[in-house]
């Protein structure tokens, strides 16, 4: 179980941590043995020989000196572990961010964005105690007691035997008790997380609860849940703390055993006082690493749980396999899909199944179909955000997976279903994904989509900061900005995912005119519910449950496809 969290960190880093731990522990334990030797000698001198302070001063100074060395060694280990752990966490966080670059969209399909944020923040922090405390402790838990036992052996065989017999029994007990409680403890932590999620959900839904007059019921529910959770947590903790109870108890018994055995031999003169005191002082130190390891058991469990979550993200298939190499043609047409299938790992049915399509050069293509038909997945594929799990996509004859992904994506402009603003000025929001010479086109695109009206309304015009905590735009305005942003890329392929949703009619009309002007020299693919877009499209693709149900021009489909017919008639009927 120790392997999992450590495997997330770079191997040399972990090795360095282990080596550091063992080296410092060796110095520490040697200094400690010397310290105890000097302390016991000084006490023996005072106690048995009534030596004056001046005679024991040097011995005491040596005791203090070796004690100080011991602490320097221990502190070196701790600070070293601090530095290594912090560095490791930062590297891991950066790795996570870069994972987004390759498999980000797939990741978002698999888990929500808040889940990912939790992992990169708290998830990685939960590894901290494991790496910083548990791992070094684990490295020294064998060598430190061994050195102490050897020191004891050189002075007294009986004490060494007591230590040698009790030491292996302790971890055995701990493991036995730990095993039987581990799973239940784990389960309990998961319940805690769920309770937190439920509280958050309740808070987010508080307006809804108020509307239904259910807020007091929810508060009561929280109270009951909380109390239920507390009592079951306590019953689990009773088990979880049991291993430490046994450990403490065994250690106390062992110290008592050593003391009594030393005492009885002192009585009959079998051993000298200084030697006995030295051994007695060593005994708690002998058990200390085990005790500390036991105390970090919880950190170990939590770290392991966090690590399996984190590893899941880093290893989640499918990873994009794009090779850098084949150059992308400037007119990347036609784009063909041959028997393309996309199966997300946690879904029962494929998002796209056996899709074969040919997308010719510049034209307007409309994609329609009910929710969940695979429209957005199709666009993600063309953006190379995700890869097909079956079949292939070719761009002007070359396999898409053989193209340099970044190069390919320069040819794509994309407006997702829920476009968002980035934190930055209105101008930055428009130009963030743009290619060269954007300033020249900015004015034209801005007036086509009436972005200048938005700029005029904002307090600092084009330089007004937008995004979280800054000036707010309406849903329709955000969409207009997002479409303008995509147009400013000047790329030959333009993908629009429901660009007219939540647009008012005037804006929709503006957008329609813009699309008309684009189709002349670009491949425009629009996912649309609005039939107005369909009528003017060069090609309409109807998707249904991940499959292509029909492909054709508006007029043909109107004649041949009864479903399409009824859609069209309802849309047009109220408008004479």
């Amino acid at each position: 179980m120790s392997a999992a969290p450590a495997s997330l960190f770079a191997t040399p880093l972990i090795r360095r941590l282990r080596v550091l731990a063992i080296l410092t522990a060796t110095v520490e334990v040697a200094a400690m043995v010397a310290q105890m030797w000097f302390v016991s000698s000084a006490i023996a001198l005072v106690f048995l020989h009534h030596a004056p302070l001046s005679r024991v001063a040097v011995t005491l100074l040596f005791a203090a000196g070796s004690g100080a060395l011991r602490i320097v060694a221990a502190t070196t280990r701790r600070v070293g572990a601090d530095v290594i752990t912090i560095h490791g966490k930062a590297v891991l966080r950066r790795r996570f961010v870069h994972t987004l670059g390759t498999g980000g969209i797939t990741l978002l399909h698999e888990r929500g964005s808040s889940d990912f944020v939790n992992l990169i923040g708290d998830g990685i922090e939960r590894l901290d105690a494991f790496i910083r405390l548990y791992l070094p402790q684990q490295a020294i838990v064998i060598c430190t007691p061994l050195i102490i036992a050897a020191a004891a052996l050189s002075r007294d065989i009986t004490t060494a035997i007591i230590l040698g017999v009790t030491a292996p029994v302790l971890p055995l007990f701990m493991v036995l008790i730990g095993r039987s409680t581990e799973r239940r403890v784990q389960h309990q932590w998961e319940r805690l997380a769920r309770l937190g999620a439920q509280l958050l959900d309740g808070l987010r839904g508080l307006p809804t609860l108020l509307l239904f007059g259910r807020e007091q019921a929810e508060a009561k529910l929280l109270q009951t849940l909380g109390e239920g959770y507390s009592s079951s947590t306590l019953s689990i903790l009773q088990l979880a703390f049991l291993s430490s109870l046994v450990l403490e108890f065994m250690i106390a018994v062992s110290i008592g055993l050593v003391a009594v055995s030393l005492g009885s031999r002192l009585l009959n003169g079998g051993i000298g006082f200084q030697r006995a005191l030295f051994l007695l002082l060593l005994t708690p130190e002998f058990y200390r690493p085990l005790r500390e390891l036991g105390a970090q058991r919880h950190a170990a469990l939590e770290g392991t749980a966090a690590a399996s979550d984190l590893a899941g993200v880093l290893a989640s298939p499918p990873r994009l396999t794009h090779a850098a190499g084949v150059t992308v043609p400037t007119q990347p047409f036609p784009i063909t899909l041959e028997h393309v299938t996309v199966q997300f790992p946690n879904r029962a049915t494929p998002a796209l199944a056996d899709v074969t399509l040919e997308l010719p050069g510049p034209s307007l293509i409309a994609v329609v179909g009910p929710s969940g038909a695979g429209k957005s997945t199709l666009l993600s594929l063309l953006c190379a955000f995700i890869e097909p799990t079956g079949g292939e996509i070719r761009v002007g004859g070359d396999l898409l997976t053989c193209l340099d992904r970044t190069e390919w994506q320069k040819h794509i402009a994309f407006v997702p279903q829920n476009p968002q603003l980035i934190e930055g000025s209105l101008r930055e929001n428009l130009t963030v994904t743009a290619g060269d010479g954007v300033q020249a086109r900015l004015a034209v695109v801005a007036s086509q989509l009436h972005i200048d009206t938005i700029a005029n309304r904002l307090p600092r015009g084009w330089d007004t900061l937008l995004g979280d905590g800054h000036a707010r735009l309406s849903g329709g305005e955000i969409r207009r900005v997002a479409v303008a942003r995509a147009l400013l890329r000047g790329s030959p392929v333009v993908l629009l995912d429901e660009p007219t949703a939540s647009l008012d009619l005037e804006s929709e009309l503006d957008l329609q005119r813009v699309i008309e002007s684009l189709r002349v020299n670009r491949l425009v693919i629009v996912v649309a519910h609005r039939l107005s877009t369909l009528a003017s499209a060069d090609l309409v693709i109807i998707l249904h449950e991940g499959r292509v149900a029909a492909v054709g021009r508006h007029a043909e489909l109107l004649k041949l496809e009864p479903l399409y017919q009824s859609l069209w008639e309802t849309a047009c009927a109220p408008v004479p």
């Binding site: 005791a63 969209i105 508080l206 507390s230 005492g263 980035i422």
Partner: protein, 584 residues
């Protein structure tokens, strides 16, 4: 909603019923340390006494005491940990319920900006931080303080010099070092907290704009932006962790030196014969055992800044003023006989644009009323004022002649069935989401409202039907399905006024038309307000009110309005234009 504008209790950091477990936890902690001290001291005493070769009987008591001390230590440590957790768990439950109840009167007006940037998550993290505060700050500090006093007293009774050693050697460094580091650590803790929340918000933002970023030539710059926050997080953590490690080192060094100093201080008394040898050994070893009392102090001080900041933020929420309060003597909500707006003006904040400006109208009872307009015309605001999320800045809204603020708030909200533009769905099953509206409803009723909301076929096709899990905020449903589920939910309530905000926005035209048609049948006789920008939906209503930038422009029967050639006619023409453009 309880009466009284500001009767909210402060952050319940402490309650009397928790006193017993808290005191017990501290006491047990002290016993744990004491028994460890006793174990070592008696063991030392035992071998020292044995070295003087007394009769065996004289050692019987110390031998017995060693065993007892060991037993007591193990059990008291175990029970003290359990008691501490019992105390903390109880407190945290109380805190969470308090948090929830404190937020109720602030909902939704004040919560709207809290929800922004997911500050709610921060609120929850803060309550978790307090849990840490009890366990790692409060209990260890109290234990260490009481233990310090007790050990000084004990030291004084043995030898006054020992008191000096204990104070200068153990107690002072234990509290002084963290106190010196306090400012440094507090600043570092603050920076750590900021960096951590920066990493979180920047990651969240990146995820929201991920498609754009992935297509951007500055993709690496975006990643590097978060990378810099990650680095500054690491820097703050380094300051925090290394200074804590150094504080621990000081504490340990103090322990080592105290043992040596203890021997040096007591040696003259032993030489002089005023202190017995075994006592010297016992006392020296008890100093070794005593050091563990102050071991948690550096960590407690390190956490203190974080915990107090969290407590302050939570208390801050309690001091927020609710946007609306229940009337002192609220009237019962009468049967809906009229619904009027009289010179209503509203804006979301003092410096914002007017969301509604001087709107006066009478809404016809028992009819379908369409509120038509572009984005930002004030459609949703009108709904929020009718549900009394806010009160208007000027003018008033009346229900059967009574101004809304005079009506009992919870009754009013039960009389209004409101589907918001972005309805909240709970992370549970379809069934549970419906039952929120009517806990007693039978399955047949649920299926009925689902049919009315055009969602029955969808639900029946799901393998688990009504018991399907819909994910966090209904993520497993499409936009249209989410809205229709919210519609089904309000249909379970027999409210006289129903408001549907853009419920057809994500639907294809056929489903949209079917939805409105079936709802007209199942809601016959009730007053229904539909906010929409689609003139086709408006034409299915009895009355249309056209808004533009907060002003009511015209109202009347949709067909009449279209004939009049005013704003509504212009909107219809625009929609027609779209088709003409498309088909030309």
């Amino acid at each position: 909603m309880r009466p009284g504008p500001l009767a909210r209790p402060p952050l319940p950091l402490w309650s009397r019923e928790d006193a017993l477990p808290a005191v017990a936890a501290v006491l047990l902690n002290l016993i744990t340390v004491a028994s460890n001290v006793a174990l070592l001291a008696v063991a030392g005493y035992l071998i020292a006494a044995a070295a003087l070769h007394p009769p065996l009987a004289a050692l019987a008591l110390p031998i017995y005491a060693v065993r007892v001390a060991g037993l007591v230590r193990a059990t008291s440590r175990y029970t003290s940990r359990l008691t501490a957790h019992r105390f903390v768990l109880h407190r945290i439950t109380a805190l969470r319920v308090w948090l929830f109840e404190t937020l109720i009167p602030l909902t939704p007006a004040r919560l709207m900006h809290l929800r922004h940037g997911d500050l709610l998550t921060g609120v929850l993290a803060d309550s978790g931080e307090l849990e840490n505060g009890y366990l790692r700050v409060l209990l260890p500090l109290v234990t260490a303080a009481i233990g310090s006093a007790l050990s000084l007293l004990l030291g004084w009774s043995l030898a006054p010099g020992l008191t000096v050693v204990l104070f200068l050697g153990l107690i002072l460094p234990a509290f002084l070092t963290p106190a010196i580091l306090l400012r440094l650590q507090r600043r570092a803790a603050q920076r750590e907290l900021e960096a951590r929340s920066r990493v979180n918000t920047e990651t969240l933002q990146l995820l929201q704009v991920l498609p754009d970023v992935l297509l951007s030539k500055r993709r690496e710059a975006f990643f590097e932006h978060i990378g810099r926050s990650i680095d500054s997080l690491a820097t703050a953590q380094r300051t925090l962790d290394i200074s804590s490690s150094l504080a621990v080192a000081v504490h340990e060094l103090a322990g080592v030196l105290s043992v040596v100093a203890g021997v040096a201080v007591l040696a003259p008394s032993v030489t002089a014969g005023s202190l017995s040898g075994p006592t010297l050994v016992g006392v020296t070893l008890s100093i070794v055992g005593l050091t563990e009392l102050w071991l948690p102090v550096p960590e407690a001080v390190k956490q203190f800044g974080r915990v107090s900041a969290a407590a302050q933020r939570l208390s801050g929420i309690a001091s927020l003023q609710p946007a609306i309060t229940n009337a002192a003597t609220p009237s019962a909500v009468p049967t809906l006989s009229s619904l009027r707006l009289e010179h209503v003006s509203f804006r979301y904040s003092g410096d914002a644009q007017w969301a509604l400006r001087d709107v006066s109208t009478v809404l016809p009872i028992g009819e379908w009323i369409a509120i038509v307009g572009a984005n930002g015309s004030g459609k949703s605001t009108l709904g929020r004022l009718l549900a009394r999320y806010w009160d208007p800045e000027e003018g008033q809204l009346t229900w059967s002649g009574i101004p809304l603020p005079d009506l009992d708030l919870s009754q009013l909200r039960q009389s209004v069935a409101y589907v918001e533009q972005e309805p909240h769905l709970f992370e549970t099953t379809l069934r549970e989401n419906l039952l929120v509206a009517a806990p007693q409803a039978h399955t047949e009723e649920l299926l009925e409202v689902l049919a009315a909301a055009q969602l029955l076929t969808f639900v029946q096709r799901l393998p688990q039907g009504l018991d399907s899990w819909i994910g966090e905020q209904g993520i497993l449903l499409s936009g249209g399905e989410r809205q229709r589920l919210a519609v089904a939910r309000v249909l379970l309530r027999n409210a006289p006024l129903i408001m549907l905000d853009e419920v057809t926005a994500h639907l294809d035209p056929v489903t949209a038309a079917q939805l409105i048609a079936t709802l007209r049948l199942s809601l016959a006789g009730r007053t229904v307000i539909v906010m929409t920008h689609d003139t086709r939906v408006a034409r299915m209503c009895d009355t249309a009110l056209v808004f533009d930038r907060g002003y009511l422009q015209e109202s009347g029967h949709p067909e009449q309005l279209e004939r009049l050639g005013g704003p509504f006619a212009r909107l219809c023409a625009l929609q027609r234009d779209l088709f003409l453009l498309a088909t030309s």
